[in-house]
């Protein structure tokens, strides 16, 4: 079991929408090995977002077991999940989700502040992460002073600063033009090569899926088939 960084077995998720029960996941199982680059695809309503939320420890499955980096996380408390997200998950969102009022450096420092690291170390690590994404000269700029591609790179620096077990990228190029989109993808794939970071892309875009090692198709809350590339 521990050979997989992500090991999700028979996940189900039921939402109560008024009087109607919606089954977003109906027993999906996903296993991802360390340093793997995977994309999760599927049409709207396939349970893709729900799967991402559960894999990212933002939500708990209704049933099934989810082991992340050797730790069973499917039944943890909210605060414990916060801790797991902080330690083991890096998020990259379509619309960057940076804090507008603070500098790039502050944005990257944020996850480490929640883990209570000493502030000198926080500073050094954040600087190193920004340099790693090629923004060493933009540390004190605010998000609105950066281009879309640069903003997404700040978000990447923020995602990898705590050395997470997995990085979850939700349509990371969706809000970018094709050139900066390509740059962001290259950056992420390089990080995977250099550091062995596990990457999970959640996307509609077949071009992105084509750049990953494996595509997991979701349909109607189930994993459809595994395409080995």
């Amino acid at each position: 079991m521990t050979e997989y960084v992500v090991d999700a077995q028979d996940l189900t998720k039921v939402y109560q929408m008024g009087n109607i029960e919606v089954q977003a996941l109906r027993g999906a199982s996903i296993q991802i090995a360390p340093s793997e680059v995977v994309s999760i695809m599927g049409p709207s309503g396939s349970g893709k977002s729900t799967m991402m939320n559960i894999l990212g420890c933002l939500d708990r499955p209704s049933s099934g077991e989810y082991t992340l980096d050797g730790e069973l996380v499917s039944n943890l408390s909210d605060d414990r999940l916060s801790f797991i997200r902080n330690e083991k998950v890096g998020f990259i969102f379509q619309n960057f989700n940076l804090l507008k009022l603070t500098s790039a450096l502050d944005n990257v420092e944020l996850p480490m502040r929640y883990s209570g690291k000493p502030s000198r170390k926080v500073h050094e690590k954040a600087k190193a992460a920004l340099e790693a994404v090629g923004l060493g000269d933009r540390m004190h700029h605010r998000p609105n002073e950066l281009s879309g591609g640069q903003q997404q790179r700040v978000a990447i620096a923020r995602a990898l600063v705590n050395d997470p077990a997995i990085i979850l990228a939700d349509e990371p190029t969706g809000a970018l033009d094709s050139k900066s989109g390509r740059e962001v993808m290259e950056l992420l794939l390089n990080l995977n090569k250099e550091r062995g970071t596990t990457l999970i892309f959640v996307t509609h875009d077949p071009n992105i899926a084509a750049m990953t090692q494996r595509v997991i198709h979701l349909r109607d809350g189930l994993v459809e088939d595994l395409q080995q590339q």
Binding site: L101, P111, Y114, S119
Partner: protein, 413 residues
């Protein structure tokens, strides 16, 4: 370290919407300013009342005709206080705790000099009055015992009255004034006492008590009746003893049973405590009203924090995704609301200082002395209280923010 970071972050987000933050703070500024100012003015009023009561004299006991207010038993055939009563009290063998006795006859009269006239209170007194009330003259002499024995038509006038009649408070001795149409020689001018209540002393006119009884008393009153007797106890620890002796002597002289008095004895301390309790209640009342505005200010904080939580739902979701625990979010929003309260409180202290200075100037312009005192304790109290207001009214919005589920918060548009 963590606290400094959260304060920095809170300041960041508060200064991001400066107008909104300052309007929110305004409620607290007005509330705290009003509370401190009211307490300071109340304290100033208390001390000015206290000082003017003390300026009347020391260790004083006031005796007046009539049963004490609130007494239920009616005295049959009540008697008025008389000069003879005063003489009896002055007997040091019978009343060793009493040092000086000053009987007083009070009436209002019209005083005229040439074309100037004024309506003031005229007191019939003896020479002892000067000792009891620590009055003195700036020119001329006080009323003497000889003038009393001779029922002479002489008067000592207050400095304010002197100014009204003669346009000056000096060089008026020897002039002749008319009190209710009867001529009196001015023999002295009182020294100004100032103060709010003692201003009446500065306008009053003093004449020998026997002259007052003969010329100014109304019909139907006993010939040697007096309106009140002011007694000075031998020392401050003899006041209670003196009150007992007075009560005993007057009970015997008036033929009333013990405990059923046809006169009222009050000490200076009684008056002082009545006055301070009145100003205390007033202060509390004003402070309470001001407190309501502080409450309104607190609701303002709560309102704006709720708006802020809604606006920043996505931010909260993101922070939670990055590993913020419930308590981290709670602390973040509470820091913001407490800061709003604190800054409002500090500016409120400045406002209070402005208000009290203005009140002081206005009071001085209307020639009353009122020195509002902003105590360090009320500043501390207000600061802590405004922080507490921020805390209390921030609790609900902050809790709401902290309870947001990360998935829903991130999806929020």
């Amino acid at each position: 370290m963590k606290i400094i970071l959260s304060i920095r972050e809170a300041l960041n987000s508060l200064t991001a919407s400066k107008l909104r933050s300052s309007l929110t703070i305004l409620g607290i500024v007005i509330g705290v300013g009003a509370v401190i100012a009211m307490l300071a003015i109340g304290r100033g009023a208390t001390s000015s009342v206290t000082s003017s009561i003390n300026s009347i004299g020391t260790n004083l006991i006031f005796i007046s005709s009539g049963s004490p207010s609130g007494s239920t038993t009616k005295v049959t055939n009540p008697k008025q206080l008389t000069l003879d009563d005063a003489e009896a009290l002055a007997n040091t063998l019978a009343a060793p705790a009493i040092s000086t006795v000053a009987p007083i006859v009070t009436s209002r009269a019209q005083i005229t000099y040439g074309s100037e006239s004024t309506d003031v209170s005229v007191l019939g007194i003896t020479a002892a009055y000067a000792t009891v009330t620590s009055e003195s003259v700036t020119e001329g002499t006080f009323i003497t015992d000889a003038q009393n024995t001779g029922k002479m038509t002489v008067a000592v006038i207050g400095p304010d009255t002197a100014k009204t009649l003669f346009g000056a408070s000096t060089g008026v001795v020897g002039k002749v004034i008319h009190i209710n149409g009867q001529s009196f020689h001015v023999v002295g001018v009182l020294k100004a006492k100032g103060g709010s209540t003692s201003s009446s002393q500065d306008t009053s006119v003093l004449i020998p008590i026997t002259t007052a009884q003969a010329r100014l008393m109304h019909f139907g009153e006993a010939k040697n009746a007096v309106d009140s007797i002011e007694v000075q106890a031998a020392s401050s620890d003899k006041v209670t003893e003196a009150v007992d002796q007075i009560t005993n002597i007057l009970n015997i002289r008036h033929g009333t049973a013990v405990g059923v008095n046809d006169f009222t004895v009050r000490t200076q301390a009684d008056i002082l405590s009545t006055a301070t309790s009145i100003t205390g209640v007033l202060t509390l009342f004003l402070g309470g009203i001001a407190g309501i505005s502080l409450l309104v200010g607190g609701i303002g904080i709560m309102n704006i924090m709720l708006v802020s939580v809604t606006e920043r739902t996505r931010e909260i979701g993101l922070r939670k995704a990055l590993g913020a625990r419930r308590s981290d979010i709670l602390v973040q929003f509470l820091t913001e609301s407490i800061l709003l309260g604190l800054v409002g409180g500090l500016i409120g202290v400045l406002l209070a200082w402005g208000i009290t200075s203005a009140v002081q100037v206005i009071a001085a312009a209307s020639s009353t002395t009122l020195n509002p005192q902003i105590g360090l304790d009320s500043v501390l109290l207000a600061t802590l209280f405004s922080m507490a207001v921020g805390l209390v009214f921030g609790l609900y919005p902050a809790n709401r923010a902290a309870s947001l589920q990360p998935v829903e918060a991130l999806r929020f548009e």
